[in-house]
């Protein structure tokens, strides 16, 4: 490994190498998803330079990484708000009040689903089933599930997010 890498991917190489040891030889392609997840966790999104670096490090075609990034909804190519609110809108959540919840969120933040507040604090998204139906409605705030939400609990939660 002699290629020159930029800091984000460079800093993650020890982690990637550790994972590689638990995979069979020649499984570089399998590392595409884990690498993209880690890059996004560090940077907040996947930048052009990360793609270039992963092409160098993994030896997979750039097109493959671009396809993965555009296919999977969780991967982002642009930065978003500091707090990403992802409200489930699927069957059970809508039966337990997610429509009211999203309306309340929209009003409170002054944005529609898919948008980010002008101060860069919040991004609101509507998503499909998060596998949390027994504790519906659920909103994901960054990585954490917030379950059994009511508009009051949501207000309280938003107050805590800086």
């Amino acid at each position: 490994m002699s290629a020159v890498l930029m800091p984000v991917v460079e800093g993650l190489i020890p982690e990637f190498e550790a994972l590689k040891k638990r995979l069979p030889p020649n499984f570089e392609s399998t590392l595409v998803m884990p690498c993209l997840h880690r890059v996004q966790a560090v940077r907040g999104y996947v930048a052009d330079e990360d793609i270039v670096d992963l092409v160098k490090y993994l030896g997979v075609p750039r097109m493959q990484i671009e396809q993965v990034l555009s296919y999977y909804t969780m991967f982002r190519r642009k930065p978003i708000g500091r707090w990403h609110l992802q409200a489930c809108r699927n069957v059970t959540c809508s039966m337990r009040g997610s429509e009211r919840l999203v309306d309340a969120l929209s009003r409170r933040l002054g944005i529609k689903p898919g948008e980010t507040t002008a101060d860069g604090r919040f991004t609101l998204s509507e998503v499909e089933c998060l596998g949390s139906c027994g504790t519906a409605p659920v909103v994901m705030v960054n990585e954490a599930y917030h379950e059994n939400l009511s508009t009051e609990k949501l207000d309280e939660l938003l107050g805590r997010l800086s």
Partner: protein, 436 residues
């Protein structure tokens, strides 16, 4: 508890997911027993004799899937636990991943021994955070304890285990789409044959089993197939983790012994419907399983035979109870929006069909529906059936046809009157739900 439990057998505490406590419950004893007293083929034989069916949705006999693998054919074999759990209404595997991750690991080691697997994977949906951290921590414990990554109990059998996280694609819960995703590509499902047990991950024989299915393997080896078969019914041995949600008083994950009366489960174990309402409909196993009416449910028992006869399926065990007063047209709209969103776009009938059906239902809900739209939805569903690589388009069609068959009058009312018969309500009894 609705019947005899096999998996939810211990009180969940802040530490019950840790290795020390799993061992104290008898954990990893089945692994030692198998590795020291059984040949790999004996493990497969036990699992086959137990008669366990897949718990992910398709109810394929596990023994038949495993039997395709020839452990000594000189090529690598892979094992994947499907922890993608994306079928709406389903949140049962999460219970295992969060509360008993070592049971999955032990079971995967057993399956790996039986199938000659050197490398195993857990494919977990990317949104799962706590389940991921719990399982990853358990895997690290298992590596440190020498269960994973080292030869086991004086044998030459070694297995490595890694988690690969998905990134928000429903179709990756389909076994071949899952493998394509592990290969680091768009999660497109593949044509079968060849079966995945012949050509799976990187074209090598691969077994993909659901998390709950696999977790039963340690139970089967520990208690023996004969004792296992005493739980459940002759045709549906064992139990199912049922995740029930919707308009019930006590939603959650319950382990239901096959053969248990459905009405008793809903009205006694789950406390009935909120506000004492009547059960209008039941989606029994994820939204891809055909909806049943409250009347259909009265005499059913919770097993494959009973549900098959009623024209539906146990599916993934993701049950959604719908109370009287809910608008079924808008509920179908939510479902069709989901399928349209999740169609991977590989096959034309699904890619175009889901969008078309979504537009039709939007039109009906928007008050612009035409009476022929109802039959059009059925026609698109029929045209989809069997024409796509994976089952998603089929399932969406069956579910749509099921909704229309059981609640056609509501669709007709909506179109005729340009409004819902039930005021478009999805959230019945909002004021009665105590948000804890």
């Amino acid at each position: 508890m609705p019947g005899t439990p096999l998996l939810m057998t211990f009180p969940v505490t802040a530490t019950s997911h840790l290795l020390a406590e799993y061992r104290a419950r008898g954990g990893y004893e089945a692994l030692e027993k198998a590795l020291t007293t059984m040949q790999p083929a004996d493990v497969t034989k036990e699992v086959t004799a137990a008669g366990i069916l897949g718990h992910g949705g398709a109810a394929f006999p596990v023994g038949r899937k495993w039997a395709v693998i020839k452990p000594n054919d000189g090529q690598p074999h892979y094992l994947c636990a499907n922890a993608d759990e994306g079928e709406p209404g389903t949140f049962k595997d999460r219970w295992i991943l969060e509360n008993n991750p070592h049971q999955l690991i032990e079971s995967m080691l057993l399956a790996g021994y039986a199938l000659g697997v050197r490398n195993a994977f857990v494919y977990m949906r990317g949104e799962f955070d706590l389940p991921y951290r719990r399982l990853q921590a358990a895997i690290e414990e298992a590596y440190e304890a020498g269960y994973v990554g080292k030869p086991l109990f004086g044998t030459v059998h070694v297995m490595d285990l890694v988690i690969i996280r998905g990134a928000g694609s429903y179709v990756c819960g389909e076994a071949s789409g899952l493998l394509t995703s592990i290969e680091g590509k768009k999660g497109y499902p593949r044509n079968r044959p060849p079966r995945l047990t012949v050509r799976g991950l990187y074209q090598r024989p691969t077994v993909v089993n659901n998390v709950e299915t696999l977790s039963n393997v340690a139970v089967i080896i520990r208690m023996g197939s004969e004792a296992f078969r005493k739980v459940g019914t002759a045709k549906s041995p064992g139990t199912q983790l049922v995740s029930i949600s919707g308009h019930v008083v006590r939603p959650g994950v319950y382990e239901v012994e096959h053969g248990y009366p459905l009405a008793k489960f809903i009205y006694e174990d789950c406390g009935g419907m909120i506000g004492g309402r009547k059960l209008k409909g039941l989606i029994p196993g994820g939204i891809s399983a055909k909806v049943l009416t409250g009347e259909d449910c009265a005499e059913l028992t919770y097993d494959h035979g009973s549900f098959d006869k009623a024209g539906s399926a146990l599916g993934s065990g993701g049950m959604i109870a719908i109370a009287e007063g809910t608008c079924m047209v808008r509920l179908l709209q939510v479902m069709l929006r989901f399928w349209h969103h999740e169609s991977c776009g590989q096959c034309t009938p699904c890619r175009e069909g889901m969008g078309w059906m979504h537009r039709i239902i939007d039109r009906i809900v928007g008050g612009q529906g035409r009476m022929e739209d109802i039959d059009q939805l059925i026609a698109i569903s029929d045209a989809n059936d069997g024409t796509t690589i994976c089952g998603m388009g089929d399932a969406a069609g069956y579910a749509t046809v099921g909704f229309i068959a059981k609640f056609r009058d509501e669709f007709e009312y909506f179109i005729q009157n340009k409004r819902s018969k039930y005021g478009g309500v999805l959230e019945v009894g909002a004021t009665e739900v105590a948000h804890a």
